[in-house]
Subunit: 412 residues, 2 copies
């Protein structure tokens, strides 16, 4: 069986490397006598590369070659990845991708094209790098009605928060360290603002609940406003701060989904997930809590997930895997402000005693937090659980305080 790889960047070159390095055991697991890379599509010059003969610049070479059964898309971005993938599927070629942006924005269209043309569109590598998540959810947990999925889906932000928590570094210092270690890009916006995690929770939510969720419908908050003061207060509350992505079933067939920093209790399986590691917690109605944990990124883990999909395609060239989700109706995603939760609040109060009095008049049972060396005019507390909109209104109604930060308390 012949494979074409589109995009010879970090993941694409890793795919070629894994297919070469583990060639024999991979072929053994497939139904074919051989699995080989025939073309590598990349606009850059690889004439000095050992495999230079495989490099091509014209996508049509792949599209028009009937020997190519599986196309690996590791270009990233939507354009031209979407057009190329769609064209391949329409020709009945299976497509395997690690491109979360593509799956989150165009998954439904590509899955439909795969279905109509009896091809496979697989994307295990798009969430959680090398951690098996997509297939376990779609197959192993198939007997479950999944009620909720939440997780730490972005390694960069988890590394930064871990450094803040463990080494007392500031956000800026931690970000710099992440960049020096190659864990954050020069322009880290996509990661630190939560967009990368939002794309991944879209993919997971679409898969778990059966209807496409688009990134623009996921309320997304990043970690740039998290301070060491918040981390200290969380610690006094027996918790850590993590960037958590959640998708949960609501009444009326709707779902709640959000990406935001959250106060995670130390008893949660997610609290101990540090550095660049990712973890996904799936709550099924039969299986209970199941957690998948591992490195969520990196060349070889991600490449190995892509290759696992290539093997799966090779075993399903004729009998396509039925896999995917449907379109979603308008307002499928609920307004995040409707959700019931507790909020952590840090605020400035000229007269803390008066402020706490007001606080206790507003909430029957708010938990007041303390930390070492807090300024005299700082207070922090956790509200009881209620609708977020109401909580915010009540908090903003406390005249004696100036709100510095609010962070959701996670139920994971």
């Amino acid at each position: 069986m012949y494979v074409a790889v589109m995009g010879y960047g970090t993941v694409g070159s890793g795919v070629v490397e894994v297919l070469t390095k583990n060639h024999d055991s991979i072929v053994k697991k497939s139904l074919h006598d051989d699995i080989a890379v025939k073309y590598i599509l990349d606009c850059r010059d690889f004439s000095a590369h050992l495999d230079s003969k495989k490099f091509i610049k014209d996508f049509n070479t792949i599209l028009e070659d009937p020997e190519i059964d599986v196309v690996v898309e590791t270009m990233g971005g939507i354009d031209p990845a979407f057009d190329f993938s769609l064209a391949c599927l329409k020709k009945g070629k299976s497509v395997v991708t690690s491109n979360k942006e593509l799956v989150a924005a165009k998954g439904l269209e590509l899955l439909n094209a795969a279905r109509e043309n009896n091809a496979n569109f697989l994307f295990e590598a798009s969430v959680g790098g090398g951690i098996p998540i997509i297939r376990p959810i779609s197959q192993c947990l198939a007997a479950n009605e999944i009620e909720e999925i939440c997780g730490i889906l972005n390694g960069t932000t988890n590394f930064i928060l871990s450094k803040m928590i463990k080494d007392n570094l500031s956000f800026d210092q931690s970000l710099k360290l992440a960049q020096e270690n190659g864990y954050a890009e020069k322009d880290p916006t996509d990661d630190i603002d939560g967009h990368d995690a939002a794309r991944k929770i879209c993919i997971l939510a679409s898969l778990c609940f059966g209807n496409h969720v688009y990134p623009e419908h996921v309320y997304t908050e990043g970690i740039t406003n998290i301070t060491l003061a918040d981390i200290d207060y969380a610690s006094s509350f027996g918790s850590v701060i993590k960037l958590i992505a959640v998708a949960k079933k609501c009444s009326g067939g709707k779902i709640y989904t959000i990406v935001s920093p959250a106060i995670v209790n130390n008893a949660s399986q997610l609290s101990g997930v540090d550095d660049v590691f990712n973890a996904v917690l799936v709550k099924g109605n039969a299986t209970g809590d199941v957690v998948f944990y591992g490195k969520g990124a990196g060349k070889m883990p991600t490449a190995s997930a892509v290759v696992a999909d290539v093997i799966d395609c090779s075993n399903h060239l004729i009998h396509r895997k039925d896999f995917g989700w449907d379109a979603s109706s308008e307002n499928y995603v609920t307004d995040y402000l409707d959700a019931v939760l507790s909020l952590y609040v840090r605020a400035r109060a000229k007269d803390p005693v008066k402020a706490l009095n007001s606080l206790h008049k507003t909430f029957d049972c708010a938990t007041v937090l303390t930390r070492k060396n807090a300024p005299a005019d700082e207070i922090a507390f956790v509200t009881p659980a209620a609708c977020e909109r109401d909580l915010l209104e009540k908090i903003r109604g406390i005249d004696e305080i100036e709100i510095l930060s609010t962070i959701r308390v996670s139920e994971c």
Copy 2:
């Protein structure tokens, strides 16, 4: 598609319950218009049961009914589960089982029968209850050469050890508590002596490394000799004691596998796995460390794993899943005493100063441990890493000590 369930115990009744409760979403995930239970085989009387018409006592009813495509085996034990399963496979019916004893002892024969008769033999529920493990290993990590697999595979012993560690209860008290909570059977031998974990590591090792490993070849030690003194010393060493099952590739195509209590460093992902939870850590050459975590037993988790296999069968009735392992040569499993590791030792010494002198003459860099309220004649230490056989010889050669316990130090 029609299913027959053999054995209406905890798991079998759970399977029927999951198939009923989540019927619509299950059918949606299959390629069939319906999935229904036609027969339930059980020798007991269920004439008063709501579904009494489905209960049968004669296995041949299932075997001879061409409408039955998938047979669920949840009887437990080898006899008659093996004969029944083999007969079904020979008729081309797929078999799904949760029976680890059957898979560990007869997996190779049943997989071969499945292959020869174009049927599926699936057993996701045999390891880790509802935690997806078998399929992620065989499919998602297919692009990896797996180097090692280790885990906490038995919930009963993990519950007992957790109670000893956290609540300072003795082994006997913890076992009693486990029995009262329904986590341990009246006769707990299979669990506390490590046999249950040994069966599971056989299945995982067979799958990961491609050749059948039989329980009788796995050196197995239970937890009955673990004392609170050992737990305290482990704690002073920054570790906890867990019943760990390991299988690891060795040179010459052989494998090392063992089930025994082990000193697990607090930095390990396995150290925080408490109570009845299980976790499996898989080390792939491309993906790095991946951990699967969840409840390793229980009616509904296990039943949901069985049903996921039923769904998978329903989608592969014609195109069989190729899945399994080969026979193993003699001496495929190495002598466990050849492995290189460190040992924790607790001993009695009439003259501790003299004993420690001897110890330091024997080992260049043994780590001496302390604990509160230790008897004056007790010493404990951790040896440097060396071949277990040599270590034992050296320790036994220290005349000044009487060995009370030795526990392996885990590398997981």
